[in-house]
Subunit: 208 residues, 4 copies
Amino acid sequence: MGARPPPDVPRRRGRPRRDQATAAILHAAGELLAEEGLLAMTLDAVAARAGTSRATIYRWWDSKETLALDTIEAQFAAHIERAIIDTGSLAGDLLEDIEARLRAVQAPGMMRLWAAMLGHAHADPAFGDAYRARFFTPVRESAHAAFARAIARGEIPAETDIELALDLLFGAVANRMLHANAPVDAQFARDVVRSVMQGLIAREPSGE
Amino acid sequence: MGARPPPDVPRRRGRPRRDQATAAILHAAGELLAEEGLLAMTLDAVAARAGTSRATIYRWWDSKETLALDTIEAQFAAHIERAIIDTGSLAGDLLEDIEARLRAVQAPGMMRLWAAMLGHAHADPAFGDAYRARFFTPVRESAHAAFARAIARGEIPAETDIELALDLLFGAVANRMLHANAPVDAQFARDVVRSVMQGLIAREPSGE
Amino acid sequence: MGARPPPDVPRRRGRPRRDQATAAILHAAGELLAEEGLLAMTLDAVAARAGTSRATIYRWWDSKETLALDTIEAQFAAHIERAIIDTGSLAGDLLEDIEARLRAVQAPGMMRLWAAMLGHAHADPAFGDAYRARFFTPVRESAHAAFARAIARGEIPAETDIELALDLLFGAVANRMLHANAPVDAQFARDVVRSVMQGLIAREPSGE
Amino acid sequence: MGARPPPDVPRRRGRPRRDQATAAILHAAGELLAEEGLLAMTLDAVAARAGTSRATIYRWWDSKETLALDTIEAQFAAHIERAIIDTGSLAGDLLEDIEARLRAVQAPGMMRLWAAMLGHAHADPAFGDAYRARFFTPVRESAHAAFARAIARGEIPAETDIELALDLLFGAVANRMLHANAPVDAQFARDVVRSVMQGLIAREPSGE
DNA sequence: GTGTAATCGAGACGGTACGTCGAGTCTTGTG
DNA sequence: CACAAGACTCGACGTACCGTCTCGATTACAC
């Protein structure tokens, strides 16, 4: 599975791919996803709005979920600055990180879309792998790096269970948005970061 | 929206509802949900396996998601003992609570189903309300009561931010299962509980 | 097959039949047939308008077509005076007869209903027998009697092919109404009668 | 309403219509109509026997009645030679015409189908127009032409009421088949033609 | 230039499931 | 018994997307 958009081969024979079509499809899909959600979005509607044919979409994506994955990735890219965050303190790094994600996910229709992707990730294992590789792992890694830097400069103990910390951190935020369907503000983000750091610093090794 | 299973009215005129049919439908739906997931489950298949007609299903449920909601509720009921948990310590209460939920959610196909329900909860607000009222709020309330008891007996400070604690607690577990798609064992549950408690006890009031 | 309305047994045990129900059903069916036609008329609607239950209808009629048959028979009875027509001349008798039928069949919705009955008569042989026995044969017989009287008083030759005359007579009228969907007025009826009589009187025996 | 079989445009973009499918549908519908009649014929069954999908049928026909209309037209075409009938005498022309129609309508199941079409023609005005345009008007016109030729060559009076003659002619035949549900043989056709001609030739103008 | 190869639009097609509707049957409680 | 209420099975309906498939038209590189 998976999209095979830019194979970036040097040059092939035949009519070259019309990049405008790809962009128009992603744009149309983005609008429809925000307006109606994943389930209500039909490829017919995407094709009509993009001015292409359904066959062209199927040529480059193998399902509408994969198309949606590419679409929200393109939208996230606009919200998240890829520059490495390094404020000098762990709390500062984590807060910056979380707030950047929050800005991206609070665009209209994005929560609904996120939930739909998560649902499909559990229905289709291959899609689940792609989903995690693109939206879960990167987030986790950038936060992981922040913890590693904090250990390196002695801010937190070396034996800190970073994986646990990440689950607490992102889990709390996700829980509030996805399950409680409640808004997440900056104050909540600060509370979460402080609680997690206090819980980790004070803790003894977990091995009973 | 929502199902209207019989509110146990005393006795009405007309042919009585065949309870066996309702049970058979729920049973068939449960099997098919575990085997194929929500999206692949057809009402045709449910009706065929339950030995009823599709029309009978539509008489009592307004969508297959609502049917699924009733189905997993029936399955959860089998896993979760409703007796109030009170071990005497906050950590003990929380662990018992979490582990009870884990047992229920680790039945085959249940993760996939949970994710699908969450996805639909964000697609259909009315369904979202029903979903939270039945699967989110009860869990939260039983844990909330455990915190209240802990405050009453002086185990944790009275000004503890319980809502935050709940988000950390259940968020960490949900994050690992839903997003990381990784297993949650008893050790992880213990680590989460300990971390959250330490983070809360030591913390100062959040208001800047 | 066929309806089994009033079995007219002397007196049976149990709750006596509520004649009002039967009348209400026929009345409701008549209204609905005129308003919407046979196919669009549902037994649900009839039952609702008659204030009865569907089961009661099924108790006395075995299909909605049979119910319709009884219904239009009741309506025809109101239009057609059963007294024997005898004006003294064949042309007069035939005209009276035809015009009486026309009055009945030109009630609103009646053409549509007649066509539907005819369609069903060819779909269900048993119904076809009942239909002809009630709506075809009687008409034919009363006109046949008029011809017989004309022969008796020497108005037309004794060897007149009456069956052929009846087919020409009623066929022309039915053709115009049913097939051409055109109105039939008194002038047309007079023309038909005159043409048929001239054609028959002048003719030689048909056997080649 | 109405079917839109291919108007034979020169060449359009897109996948060309698979003519075999259209033919298979008409053939399957023809068989099923003869076997079971219009009401019992299911589009499911037609699709299954034709090896197409129900959607394809709905793409080209808007109801099963319209499909039936096309079907019997195709079958009539096989029975009726379109060559203009001109035997030199009015009686000869009319007999040829009537007997050609009789051959077509006496195929198995055709009477039942004809009656059903007539019923639907009165239930759905738009269908009624289509029905008459295809099965009523053409028959009428060819016979009308025969009368016109007879007037031209002085065989019958110029003031003959042709419309009345047509109603008598076809009405008598239709009455016997549709209403009396009796067979029509060549002798009956001859009798009808002779009677109508005698009735018309001898008659005076109808205007009082 | 003239293939050759690829893309794109349009749109028909077989399929599957949907949600609805009506027919006809059955099972209660009430009169 | 008759009747109302109403739950039930069955089967067809017409619709909506899906994913696939032919087409004709277009556009480039390669010979």
